[in-house]
C-alpha cells in the first residue's frame, strides 16, 4: 500500500512539533527554519495550517531540474533531492506551483519533503493528528464517511463491516 501525508488544518494548534521533528530528522538540529513542512498561522481567522510537498505524480520540480537531481522514490512515491547532484540552481523552486521546494543557503542545495523514506517524522510528532500517514487511495474516506453518516447517532459504536 502506498501512503501519503494527510493534512487536516482544522486539527492543527500551531505548536510546530512537526517542524521540530522534520528539522531534527533531516538536519540533526531543532530548527523550524530548516523544516520541509511548515505551519502557517492566520491570526484574524484563528486558523493554523500545516503544508508540505504533496509528491505530485507529474512532478514539475523533477521535470524542471536540468541535472536530474530530483528522482522518484519508487517505494514511497516521493520525489527526492540527490544532494550530491543538485547544483543549487533553484529552477525547481520556480517550477513548483506550491512553493514546497526551497533553497537552503547553508548547504547551497534545495530541500524538500522526502517522506523520511517512508516513515515521516512529522506525522509521528503531531500531537493532534492534524498530520497523519494514510493509504494514498483512501484520503477522502473519513470525509466520505462523515457525509454518509448523516442521521447516524455518533455516540453509538458501530461494528467494522
Amino acid at each position: 500500500m502506498q501512503r501519503a501525508l494527510k493534512l487536516e488544518p482544522e486539527k492543527c494548534t500551531g505548536c510546530l512539533q512537526c517542524e521540530l521533528a522534520c528539522s531534527y530528522e533531516n538536519e540533526g538540529v531543532f530548527n523550524p527554519s530548516k523544516s520541509r513542512i511548515r505551519v502557517f498561522t492566520f491570526h484574524y481567522e484563528g486558523r493554523f495550517a500545516p503544508y508540505t510537498c504533496t509528491q505530485c505524480d507529474e512532478a514539475w520540480c523533477m521535470q524542471a531540474c536540468p541535472v536530474d537531481a530530483i528522482v522518484l522514490n519508487r517505494q514511497t512515491g516521493s520525489k527526492d533531492v540527490l544532494a550530491d547532484t543538485c547544483v543549487g540552481c533553484k529552477v525547481c523552486t520556480i517550477a513548483c506551483p506550491f512553493g514546497t521546494v526551497n533553497y537552503d543557503a547553508d548547504s547551497g542545495k534545495v530541500i524538500k519533503c522526502d517522506l523520511c523514506g517512508g516513515d515521516p517524522a512529522c506525522a509521528k510528532a503531531c500531537p493532534t493528528e492534524a498530520i497523519t500517514w494514510v493509504d494514498v487511495e483512501q484520503h477522502g474516506l473519513d470525509r466520505m464517511r462523515a457525509w454518509a453518516a448523516q442521521g447516524v447517532d455518533p455516540a453509538r459504536p458501530q461494528p467494522s463491516v
Binding site: 523550524p32 491570526h43 484563528g46
Partner: protein, 616 residues
Amino acid sequence: MGWTRKVLRVDLQARTCTEEPLNMEWANDYLGQRGLASKYLAEEIDPKVDPLSPGNKMIMVTGPLTGTMASTGGRYSVVTKSPLTGAIACSNSGGFIGAEIKNAGWDMIIFEGKASSPVYLYLENDKAELVAADDLWGKSVWETDQLLHGKHQDPKLRIACVGRSAEAGCLYASIVNDLHRAAGRSGVGTVMASKNLKAVAVRGTKGVSGIKDPKRFMQSTQDGKKVLKEHAVTGQGLPTFGTQVLMNVINEVGAMPTRNMRDVKFEGAHKISAEAMAEKRESDNRANLVTNAACFGCTIACGRISVMDQGHFTIENKPQYWGASGGLEYESAWALGSDTGIDDLETLTYANYLCNEDGMDPISFGATVAAAMELYETGAIDDTITGGVKFNFGSSEALAKAAEMTAIGEGFGKDLGLGSKRLCEKYGRPELSMTVKGQEFPAYDPRGIQGMGLTYATSNRGACHLRSYTVSAEVLGLPEKHDPLTTEGKPALVKIFQDLTAAVDSSGLCVFTTFAWGLEDIAPQIDSACEGEWTAERLLEVGERIWNLERRFNNQAGFTSADDTLPPRFFKEKANTGPAEGKISGLAEMLPEYYDLRGWTPEGVPSNETLQRLKL
C-alpha cells in the same frame, strides 16, 4: 548541552551590543531562565536601586530546553527589579519569541542603562543592533508588531514589545510577544519602557543542537508527551477548555474572589466560564471561542483564540477588533469579571484584547478596577475623580472605559495605572487594596484555599498563584489531595511547590506540565539534554537555591517578615458562603512553621547554615 553558552549584553546608554560567554558555574547552580537570570541580576544590580532608573537591568532569558522538541519547550522569562513591588520580578511567557532567541544562538540578553531616545533591538543570529524607534514610540503593541514586520519584510520575525500603557508609566505594564502572549506580571514592561526600549525583534535560523544524549532525549521527551496526553487535565481539560476549565470548579469550592474579594462566590461565573465561551451567541450565532492554540512546541495547547460579536457596544465601529485574537484565560476572566462583578463575556474579551493591544497585566488591571469600584461605592472617590464614569460593581461600561483610559494613561486611567495599592493609598483607603508586596491577588481566595494564603504572603514577587500552585493539591487532588480548609501540612506543601516551580521555571518548560509531570518525568528530559547529572533531587535543590536567592535579594531591598502578610480583609472578614463559610485565613498558624522548614530565622531571614548549604 542545552545552553548556547552565549550572552548578549546590550548597553542602551552606549548603544553597544557585546557577546560574552555564559557563566557555566552559575548555569550548573541555577540551570537557566528564572534561576540563572536572577543570579545575574542579584550579582549585577544594587537591590536598593530605583527600578525605573538606568541602574536597574532587564534580562530576557531562555532555559536549556527552550527551542527543543520537549513539550512546552518554548518558554522565556524577563527578570528585573519590579517597579510595582520593589521586589525581584520574573515574568514568564510562551508564544514563540523564546525559541527564536535560542535559535538565534543566545541564552540570554541583558539590557542595561537607558537609551537617550527610543530604540529597538534587532537580532538576526549573530547580528545584533539597536535601531532608532522614534516612529514606534506612541504605538500600540499590535501597531508596533505590524510596523516592524513591514519594515523588515520578514513574516518570520518574532517580536516582543511594550505598548502605550508602559510608555505612560502604568506600573503593571507587560511585555507582549507574538501579539497576545505576555511576560505579564510585576511591571516588567514598565522597566523596558523606562529604558526607552520599545521592542525586541528576533530572527533565528541556527536552531538548537548539541543535545547531550540525543537518543535518550528523544525517548524521554516522547515519554513525557505521552504522560501529558493521557492525563485528564493536560490531555483533555486544558486543550478543550483552557485554564478557564477552573471557573466553575473554583466557584463551587467557594474560593472565587468576587467584587474586590468581598465575596467568595460569583453568581455570574457560569456566564463567563469556558463552557460559556464555547456556546453560540444568540446575537450572531457564533461562539466566542474559535479554537485552541499552542505556544512553541506545546502538545497541550491551552491557549484561547476568540472572536467578538461585531455588534457589541464596545467594538461596534471598530473593525480592528472584529478578527480573531487572544481570548480569555481563567486569570483574566476572573480579574476582569468576577473581581469586578461583571458577567458580560464580550466586555471581558474586549478588555482582554486591550490588555494585549497595549501591554497591561490583566490580573493587576482587573484587580485595580475592582479596588476602584469599591472606593467608588464606599464614597472614597466620586465622578469628579473618575471623569464621570460610574464605577459601580458590575458595570461593563466602566470596565471598557477603564481599559481604554489605562491603555493610554489618560484621565482616571493614570490613577488606575498606579495599581491597586497606590490607588487605595492615594484615596485614603489602603485596606481596600487586595495586594501583597504591592502586587494584586490572583483568582483564588485564601480563606477557601488556605495554602494559597501562605503562597501569596511568601511569594517573592508579591501575590501570585504561579509561585506555588497548591490549588493543584488542595482542589484538584494533584499529585495528592489536601483539605483546602485546613492549615495543617500547608507550610511543607507550599515549600515543595515553590522549589519545584522555581526549577521548572528555569528549564524552558511550562509550569502547566506539572499537573501531569512530576520531577521524575522532567529530570530525564533535562539530564539527557544538558551536561552534568540532573536528578530530581538536584533540581529541587536548584529550586530551593533560587528561592533563597530571590528572598535574600528582597531582604536586601528592604523587605522584612512584616511584608509576608495579607490584606486585613482576610483576617477580619469571614468567607460569607460556600464550603469555607465562616473561615478567615490561618496565615499566622502557617508562617512560623514555614520559616522553620525553610531554615530561616523567626524574622524570615535565611540563616547562615541555610545559605552555606545552598552555596549562597
